[in-house]
Symmetry: D2
Amino acid sequence: MTTSTTPPTEHRSDEDSHHHPPGYLGDKAKVLARLRRVEGQVRGLQRMVDEDTYCIDVLTQVSAATKALENVALLLLDDHVRHCVADDVRSGSTEKVDEAMQAITRLVKS
Amino acid sequence: MTTSTTPPTEHRSDEDSHHHPPGYLGDKAKVLARLRRVEGQVRGLQRMVDEDTYCIDVLTQVSAATKALENVALLLLDDHVRHCVADDVRSGSTEKVDEAMQAITRLVKS
Amino acid sequence: MTTSTTPPTEHRSDEDSHHHPPGYLGDKAKVLARLRRVEGQVRGLQRMVDEDTYCIDVLTQVSAATKALENVALLLLDDHVRHCVADDVRSGSTEKVDEAMQAITRLVKS
Amino acid sequence: MTTSTTPPTEHRSDEDSHHHPPGYLGDKAKVLARLRRVEGQVRGLQRMVDEDTYCIDVLTQVSAATKALENVALLLLDDHVRHCVADDVRSGSTEKVDEAMQAITRLVKS
């Protein structure tokens, strides 16, 4: 799964080890559906603000959207650890563990 | 600002005390601009996932969008406390303090 | 409650407006009891680590202690807003609102 | 490190796979030192409350202690993933990945 024969995929990181399908490949439809729902929530928020909805009602919806995004992050992280990090560890590396711990720290601190 | 002569506004809560402009009225353009930017971030996330972007790069963007939403919440809360809660306290009530503390608890725990 | 006839109290901030009983005065026994319980949890954690307790069991207890501290913060904040901030607002000031919003931001972001 | 010849250690979980040194073994002195410092912070908080310290100053210290505990959690988690989870993955299991993801979820949501 980490060989260079996998088809080229879009990505930003330039390390060779990233040239393989993302960990969320099997959950892609689910991740996209959740992100579309979050987009709908954020558009709903704009409508609420535009219509002078009471502050607390807007805040409740912001909390709901934030929680939904947090759950997307946890799903992506689960897939990443289960696939990319596990593959990397099995191949004898600890590079992806370092990287994953940084992402987890960002999530916990945000 | 809390008189009953203010024009009727859209809101969900049905209490009479809510029939006045929301606390974020003076920041409406700013709140809307921030929400539009979050919407752009969430659409960007869908594009990233659609293009199989590396998990960690997606996660970094999810963290950025979450942080942006959190900042919208803090701006709304600031306006709410400064206007609606302060007006309510001055009028001798503590009802809005109770309600604001519940919203703050949701924010801190999310 | 905000008169200058209240007995001098220990405090770190040097502004005159602080020379009055803290907002948590009525909840002092409750706050102290909760802090003693958190202290017990943190000592229990040291025992667990000293005895090589399994990582996940230690982590579960760290989460419990963190949540307990968060609840102490929410109780202190509730009392502060309800007493100190409300008194200040009634006296025509917004200084304590600014200060409280900074504390809330720290809590939400931590 | 995961062989069954390691000396029996104190732990709460009863699964056989846990009968090996905890992931934080190499960081034990560091973890204990940090926990002792948190204990000191919590005792300091009791003193502050006992002396009627101004609410905001107490809240600032509660935030500092909470952040310190969060950092202990991240250190324990880092060691756990790097040692226990990695060993488990190398041995062909995913059991510890499931368990670690639950702990991470608790941390992110708290």
